[in-house]
């Protein structure tokens, strides 16, 4: 128990030193939004193409989820590491000291990994939620039409929740933010259905 508290304290210190709270939140929302939109595109694209085999959508969704996760992890790790090493070097120049063994050096190594994990996991959440109805369909729990409807509905709800989260963070109207993100999803859906119709 004491060991756990020490680890939590250490994480808190690294997070404070590297100021990763705000940027982590931003990464999470951006990439979760990305994940929701991509999976909405996959599901609607399959619908327009008339796909009736849930295993196809599950495979495409899981593949996309994995690719987004790896892309998010790798992209954030590489860019955050470069930025933070540059900042550490600037600080070392100002301090005329080597900070590699200090908590600042530790935080510089910790933050890119933590942020990369956040960014890698964020798109998986909406992607998994959207695929879930098709997994249930595969198991015979619902019809493919119901799976499509439920998947799209769940994705729109998630988009609303992401918007609401931003609204809460900024201290502004939760519903307005929620409706804006839902509207983006609906507009994308209309565009895909419109293009697919032609």
């Amino acid at each position: 128990m004491r060991r756990l508290r020490e680890v939590v304290e250490k994480f808190r210190l690294y997070s404070s030193v590297s100021e990763m709270g705000e940027i982590g939140r931003r990464y999470f929302v951006i990439n979760a939004f990305d994940g929701a939109m991509v999976i909405l595109g996959v599901v609607l694209g399959a619908f327009v193409a008339g796909a009736r085999d849930p295993s196809m959508i599950v495979s495409a969704g899981l593949g996309g989820m994995l690719a987004m996760g790896i892309s998010g992890f790798a992209g954030v790790y590489i860019s955050e590491r470069a930025e933070r090493i540059k900042r550490l070097k600037d600080l070392e120049k100002a301090m005329l000291a080597d900070l590699g063994n200090s908590v600042i050096g530790d935080a510089t190594r910790f933050a890119p990994v933590a942020l990369a994990v956040i960014d890698g996991i964020a798109p998986a959440i909406p992607a998994f939620v959207a695929i879930l109805p098709f997994i249930l369909c595969l198991r015979g729990a619902m019809l493919i039409e119901q799976a499509y409807a439920l998947s799209i509905l769940l994705t729109l709800v998630l988009l609303f929740l992401l918007g609401a989260l931003l609204g809460r963070l900024s201290g502004e109207n939760v519903f307005i933010y929620g409706f804006v993100t839902t509207f983006v999803g609906l507009a994308t859906a209309a565009l895909i259905l419109g293009l697919g119709g032609n």
Partner: protein, 90 residues
């Protein structure tokens, strides 16, 4: 026999250069947990773009200067000078 005990450190005043982060709150908490330290007093004296100069006053009984220096180093802070020392015999 009162003055035949071993000398112990009861107060030091340090002039320290540190980055803005970790904050003086975080530094103060860790300094306060060093064995023998009873009170920690930190005052910011100068703020620069990347760094700040602080005055650290530590009081207690029998704390080790080396431990203080190690904590400072771990927090990326550099002791520029030791401005005051109080040693008592116990």
């Amino acid at each position: 026999m009162g003055d035949s005990g071993s000398p112990i450190l009861t107060k030091v005043v340090l002039d320290v250069l540190k980055p803005h982060k970790p904050s003086i709150l975080e530094l103060g908490e860790v300094l306060g947990s060093v064995d023998g330290v009873k009170t920690v007093n930190i005052v910011i004296r100068e703020v620069d773009v990347e760094t700040e100069t602080i005055k650290v006053v530590l009081e207690g009984s029998g704390f080790k200067y080396k431990e203080i220096r190690d904590v400072m180093e771990k927090f990326g802070a550099k002791i520029h000078s030791v401005d005051e020392v109080v040693v008592e015999k116990r």
